[in-house]
Amino acid sequence: MSILIKIAAVAVAGTVLGLVIKKNSPEMALMLTVSLALIALYLAFDTIKSVTDFIKSLADAAKISPAVLTIVFKTIGVSIVTKLSADVCRDAGQSSVASGIELAGAFTALYISLPLLKTVMGMIESLV
C-alpha cells in the first residue's frame, strides 16, 4: 500500500511538473514522463519480484517446469515494455514509431513463446 502511495505521489507530482514544463520545453516534459514511468516500475519492482517468487515456489511445489513460467514472465515483461514505450511515442505524437514498437513487441512475444508453442503442439500431436 505504501509503495502504491509513493508511486501515485511521484506520478501525480511529475505529471503536474510535466504540464508546467511542456509549455516551454516539450522535450524535457517527454523526458520527465519517461523518467516517471521508469521510477514507477523501479518502485514496484519489489512487489513484482515477490509475486513472481511466490508463483515460482508454487510451481516448484506442483512440480511444474520453471521454463514454462519463465516464458510467461518474459512475455508479460515484453508486453509491459512494448505498451509503455509505444505510449510514450504516441504522447510525443509519433504514432508510426509506436506502431513499429508494437509490431516488434508482438513478434518478440511470439518468438519467446515459440518453445512453449512447439511443446504444446508436440503434446497435441502425441494426444491425437
Binding site: I71, I76, S79, K83, T119, V120
Partner: protein, 379 residues
C-alpha cells in the same frame, strides 16, 4: 432274475444309507448338520479355486484390502471400513497435488489477464503465453491421469476375467445354471465391448477433445469450438449407450433365465421327492444343503469382488474426481477475472477429467451391476 436281484440289493443299500441320516435328523443334531454345510462350502471353494481369485487382486487393490479372504469378505461393512481407512491417507495427497496445479494455473490466468486488462487489451500476447503455459501444465496432467484411468480399466478387465467365471460357477452351483450363464455371457460380452470401445474410441476421443480445446484456446475460431463440442457429445453418448444397452440386456436375460432357473430347481426338487418315495426327501434335503452352501459362497465371492473392484478404482476415481472438481472450480474463479479463452480452456480440461471419470465409473458400475445381478439370481 438278475435285474430283480440288482433292484433288491440297491433298495437294501439305499435303506441302509437312509437310516443314519434319518437318525441324525430325528436326533436334531444341528451341529453335525452345520459342519456338513461348512465342509460342503469348503469343497465348493476348492473346486471353484477361490484362492486364485484372491491372488488375482490388482496391486493397489491388494495393498488396500490387505490379506482379505473370500470368507472374511462376507463382512461387507468390515471390508468397506478397511477401504475407507486405506484411502484416508490418499485423499490428502490427491487434494494437495491437484490444488497446487490448479493454483498455478489460476495464478497464471490472473497474472496474464491483469496485465491485459491494465493495458486495455494491449497485452494479448501475454494472454497467448498464458494459454500456452496453462495448456502445457494441464495437458501433462490430463495425459498422466488418463493413463491412470486406462490402467485402471485394464486392471478391472483382467480381474473381471477371474471374478466372473468364479462367481458364475458359484451361482450355477447354487441352482442358477441358466441365469448365471446368461449373465456371465452378457457381462463378459459387454465388458469386452466396453474395454475395446474405451481403448480404441473413447480415450482417443477424450485426447482429441483436449487437443481441440487447447487449439481453440490458442488460436480461437468457431470451427474448433464446434469440433470440441461434437467430440464431447460423442464421448458421452457412446458411454451412456453402452451402459444402457448393458443394463437392458442384463435385465432382459435376468428376468427370462431367472424364472427358468426358479422353475427348473423347484421342478427338480419335486421330482426327486416324488419319484424316490423313501430316499427322495433326504436327497432333496441334501441338495438343499449343497445349494445353500453354494449360495453363501456365491455371496462371499460377490462381496469380495465388489470390494476388490471398489478398491481398484478408488484411488484413480479419487484423483480424477479431485482434479475434475478443482479444474471446474478454477474455471469458475477465473471466469470472474481472466480472459474468456483461458476460462474455456481450464473448463475443457476439467471436462476431459470428467469424461475419464465417467468412463472408469461406467466400467466399475457395469461390474457392480453384474456382481449384484449374479448374487441376486432367483433360485
Amino acid at each position: 432274475m438278475k435285474k430283480a436281484i440288482i433292484i433288491f440289493i440297491m433298495t437294501f443299500v439305499l435303506a441302509l444309507l437312509q437310516m443314519p441320516a434319518a437318525c441324525a435328523a430325528d436326533a436334531g443334531d444341528v451341529q453335525a448338520a452345520a459342519m456338513t454345510a461348512e465342509e460342503v462350502r469348503e469343497s465348493q471353494a476348492e473346486a471353484l479355486e477361490t484362492d486364485k481369485l484372491e491372488n488375482a487382486l490388482p496391486g493397489d487393490a491388494g495393498s488396500l484390502l490387505g490379506d482379505l479372504k473370500i470368507t472374511d469378505s462376507l463382512d461387507l461393512s468390515g471390508g468397506v471400513r478397511k477401504l475407507l481407512e486405506g484411502v484416508q491417507g490418499g485423499v490428502g495427497d490427491a487434494v494437495t497435488g491437484g490444488l497446487k496445479s490448479a493454483a498455478v494455473i489460476l495464478i497464471i490466468a490472473i497474472l496474464c489477464s491483469t496485465v491485459n486488462t491494465a493495458f486495455e487489451g494491449g497485452a494479448k500476447y501475454a494472454i497467448l503465453a498464458g494459454v500456452l503455459a496453462i495448456s502445457a501444465v494441464s495437458v501433462l496432467n490430463v495425459n498422466a491421469f488418463i493413463g491412470l484411468g486406462s490402467k485402471t480399466l485394464d486392471d478391472m478387465n483382467t480381474f473381471s476375467r477371474m471374478l466372473l467365471p468364479t462367481l458364475t460357477g458359484a451361482a450355477a452351483a447354487s441352482g442358477a445354471i441358466t441365469s448365471a450363464a446368461a449373465k456371465y455371457a452378457a457381462t463378459a460380452l459387454f465388458m469386452d465391448i466396453m474395454m475395446s470401445v474405451a481403448k480404441s474410441v473413447v480415450v482417443p476421443l477424450i485426447y482429441a477433445y483436449t487437443a481441440t480445446s487447447v487449439a481453440e484456446a490458442a488460436l480461437g475460431g468457431e470451427g474448433l469450438t464446434g469440433a470440441s463440442n461434437l467430440l464431447k457429445w460423442l464421448t458421452k453418448t457412446i458411454m451412456m449407450g453402452i451402459v444402457l444397452l448393458f443394463v437392458a440386456y442384463l435385465s432382459l436375460t435376468g428376468v427370462i433365465s431367472g424364472t427358468t432357473d426358479a422353475v427348473t430347481t423347484k421342478a427338480l426338487k419335486t421330482t426327486i421327492s416324488t419319484v424316490l418315495p423313501v430316499v427322495g426327501g433326504i436327497i432333496a434335503d441334501a441338495s438343499e444343503t449343497v445349494l445353500a452352501g453354494a449360495s453363501i459362497l456365491r455371496n462371499a465371492i460377490g462381496i469380495f469382488g465388489f470390494l476388490a473392484v471398489a478398491a481398484t478404482c478408488l484411488f484413480p476415481f479419487l484423483h480424477l474426481g479431485v482434479n475434475y472438481l478443482l479444474y471446474k472450480a478454477a474455471a469458475g474463479v477465473s471466469g470472474a477475472i481472466a480472459d474468456g479463452r483461458i476460462t474455456r480452456l481450464v473448463g475443457a480440461v476439467g471436462t476431459a477429467f470428467g469424461m475419464m471419470l465417467g468412463l472408469v465409473g461406467a466400467s466399475a458400475l457395469m461390474l457392480f451391476i453384474s456382481i449384484i445381478s449374479v448374487i441376486k439370481v432367483a433360485t
